[in-house]
């Protein structure tokens, strides 16, 4: 039983590796490569964040601190390599970033992990503010407003890898992303990983089975800092410039969104979040200046209707799939999808009309307004019914599904 399970896991991970290898062949364009590179970095960052939130129960508002510090240290390390202070192939620079992240999270985590819950969240916010403020004060290290500029081709070509072409950078990111994903997954299956879950569930009881929950939180935070630092290093290599923005509150908030949108209950949840958020940020911003508003709306919808994120929507359907009753849900889902689509079009209409400042009086403007408003109303009317219909089918299915969960 266990063996068969491991076999399927091996197949899964091999497919992921294969996907990473093949993606640039499927999407060879410059824009696609740059998006793919960002995705890899975002995945590492989001997964490292979930070591805190999903696995240890620590809601941090300052995780970008370790990402950013890893990035800055890497930038300086690359510049040292360029000026000949020491030699290290660029391919191993992520280790430098990781170690920097580890050291800083060891130091800062020692202070912040004393208390879980709200105190931890508040202290993490304070640390994030403090580091962001220092970034503008210590300009030698952080480079002030302009940041630190590096040259990723500094080390020269090793085995023909110069990191001139973006595709080489993509593969560097892909390799480190895969290694980080695998390591972070393995950590969830170790004594520490399990005890972290126990600390998340009930820190007090862990003390009565011999564990020091503060120590568990501290180690988990340090490991999370290590992987965040790897992500930071890859950002430096990818963009060849790093500014204080990367360790600021915006960046810290972003990873919270990724984790929640993807879902913190499953290991792979934040991967979905990282992919989705990165895509939205890259594509949506091309179409409309109001993209942040849509982004906020998405977050709101997820928190309201599926607090477990997208991954929980997937996992609750696993028993439905096993029981073979998916087709009974489909009609109500199609109905909801249709009603949701109508509502969405209406909402987009209203938002864009507002955003583009078309409050000019005119016949066709008025018509557009009325039409958009009508869509929202009609859509919302049917959406309410659709949601009720979905809930009804679920209620009918529940007794049958008990056997399959």
């Amino acid at each position: 039983m266990e063996r068969a399970f491991n076999k399927s896991r091996l197949i899964l991970w091999s497919s992921v590796a294969l996907l990473f290898v093949l993606l640039p062949f499927v999407f060879p364009g410059g824009f696609a490569l740059s998006i793919l590179s960002q995705l890899g970095i975002a995945i590492i960052f989001a997964l490292s964040y979930n070591m805190l939130l999903g696995q240890t129960g620590l809601l941090s508002f300052g995780h970008a601190v370790y990402f950013g510090l890893g990035a800055f240290v890497t930038a300086h390390a690359i510049n040292f390599v360029e000026s000949g202070v020491f030699g290290l192939p660029i391919s191993f620079m992520p280790l430098v970033g990781g170690l920097a992240g580890l050291v800083f999270s060891l130091i800062l985590g020692f202070v912040t992990t004393r208390r879980p819950g709200t105190p931890f969240a508040m202290i993490s916010l304070g640390i994030a503010e403090m580091v962001a403020a220092s970034a503008l004060m210590f300009t030698t290290f952080f480079g002030g407003e302009g940041g630190i500029v590096t040259n990723r081709t500094a080390g020269g070509a090793v085995w023909g890898i110069s990191y001139g072409p973006q595709v080489q950078v993509y593969y560097l990111i892909a390799v480190w992303c895969f290694i980080s994903m695998a390591l972070m997954f393995v950590i969830t299956r170790t004594p520490l990983g399990r005890i972290a879950n126990a600390v998340r569930d009930n820190p007090e009881r862990t003390q009565f089975v011999g564990y020091n929950p503060t120590r568990v939180r501290w180690i988990m935070m340090s490991l999370a800092g290590f992987f965040a630092g790897i992500g930071g290093a890859l950002t430096t290599i990818n963009y060849e410039i790093i500014t204080a923005e990367s360790l600021g509150l915006m960046a810290s908030g972003n990873v919270v969104l990724m984790a929640f949108i993807g879902g913190i209950g499953q290991f792979w949840g934040p991967i979905i979040g990282a992919v989705l958020v990165t895509f939205l940020q890259s594509f949506l911003s091309n179409f409309t200046q109001a993209w942040l508003l849509y982004f906020g709306l998405l977050f709101l919808l997820i928190i309201l209707f599926s607090p477990g994120g997208i991954s929980s929507i997937i996992t609750i359907h696993a028993p439905v799939w096993r029981a073979g009753v998916m087709k009974r849900l489909l009609p109500s889902y199609m109905f909801a999808l249709w009603a949701g689509f109508v509502t969405l079009v209406g909402i987009i209409g209203v938002i864009e009309l507002l955003y583009r400042g078309t409050l000019v009086v005119g016949v066709h403007v008025a018509v557009t307004w009325v039409f958009a408003g009508l869509l929202v109303l009609v859509g919302a009317f049917f959406l309410r019914r659709a949601i009720r219909a979905v809930a009804q089918v679920w209620a009918d299915l529940t007794p049958e599904l008990a056997r399959w969960s």
């Binding site: 266990e2 393995v186 950590i187 299956r189 170790t190 004594p191 520490l192 990983g193 399990r194 005890i195 879950n197 126990a198 998340r200 569930d201 009930n202 007090e204 009881r205 862990t206 003390q207 009565f208 089975v209 011999g210 564990y211 020091n212 120590r215 568990v216 180690i219 490991l223």
Partner: protein, 260 residues
């Protein structure tokens, strides 16, 4: 050390233990000795300080004054995990489990420290045969084999009660403290629990708080009576039953009645 040798012969020895919360003294000068290998019940009316005393012994709260020794080692006001590593394990009156972990994981987490795995993140947990076997052994003992993969938070109350005891005994601690193990159970569930407790504490030292006098007289070798933060009597069940002082303290309520 001023604790003297008197403490060395006992699994647990409390000398003049006091606990104040603000102005109120909840525990005022408790002296108590638990002989290694005995089953000892702590009884007394509600608010007598039984649970507080448990919290002091297990390190959940620091004492205000006095000293506590476990197998001759001073554990006064030490942190809970330190006391646990010295061989004392306790359960809680209100279920205190890991609700989102499976029943099996609850038990496996409870043996990891004692098997020496500490904070390891280099070993695969599924490869730790001893941890698996130990957890499975406890699982069988508490009769939850068919709930193995269920989330602990989804168990019935009585099952969670059994798991609570399972987590407590899993590590093989030599001194076990059970805080009202049969609280909220029906008659038949209580009978099962008594049988379980007597089985799992075989060869160990047990100190338990219990309201159900049937359970107390079934299980206990010795009984101590705590009233208003003081131990007013200590002795065999027969001695306690006869004691005038105890009868006075329980004024109007029969000793073998249930004083909820």
């Amino acid at each position: 050390m001023e604790l003297g040798d008197r403490m060395n012969q006992h699994a647990l020895a409390l000398v003049d233990v006091r606990k104040r919360f603000g102005q109120t003294e909840i525990i005022n000068g408790v002296n108590l000795e638990i002989v290694a290998g005995e089953r000892h019940a702590l009884i007394g009316p509600n608010g007598a300080g039984k649970s507080t005393l448990f919290n002091l012994i297990s390190g959940r709260f620091p004492v205000s004054s006095g000293s506590i020794a476990l197998n001759g080692t001073d554990i006064t006001s030490k942190e809970p995990q330190v006391i646990n590593r010295l061989g004392l394990s306790r359960s809680f009156q209100i279920n205190n489990i890991f609700p989102k972990l499976s029943v099996f994981e609850n038990l496996r987490c409870s043996v990891l420290w004692v098997l020496g795995y500490r904070y390891s993140f280099f070993k695969r947990i599924s490869a730790l045969r001893d941890a698996k076997e130990s957890a499975e052994h406890t699982l069988e003992m508490i009769g939850l084999e068919n709930r193995r993969e269920k989330m602990a938070g989804e168990l019935t109350y009585a099952e969670q009660r059994a798991l609570e005891i399972g987590i407590t005994i899993a590590s093989g601690a030599s001194v076990i403290l059970l805080d009202e193990p049969t609280a909220g159970m029906s008659r038949s569930e209580t009978d099962v629990a008594v049988e379980l407790i007597s089985r799992v504490t075989e060869g160990k030292t047990l100190l338990m708080v219990e309201h159900d006098m049937g359970v107390v007289f079934d299980l206990a070798d010795r009984i101590s009576v705590l009233v208003y933060g003081e131990v007013i009597a200590s002795g065999t069940p027969a001695e306690i039953r006869m004691s005038k002082k105890v009868q006075e303290a329980y004024l109007g309520t029969a000793v073998d009645g249930d004083e909820e």
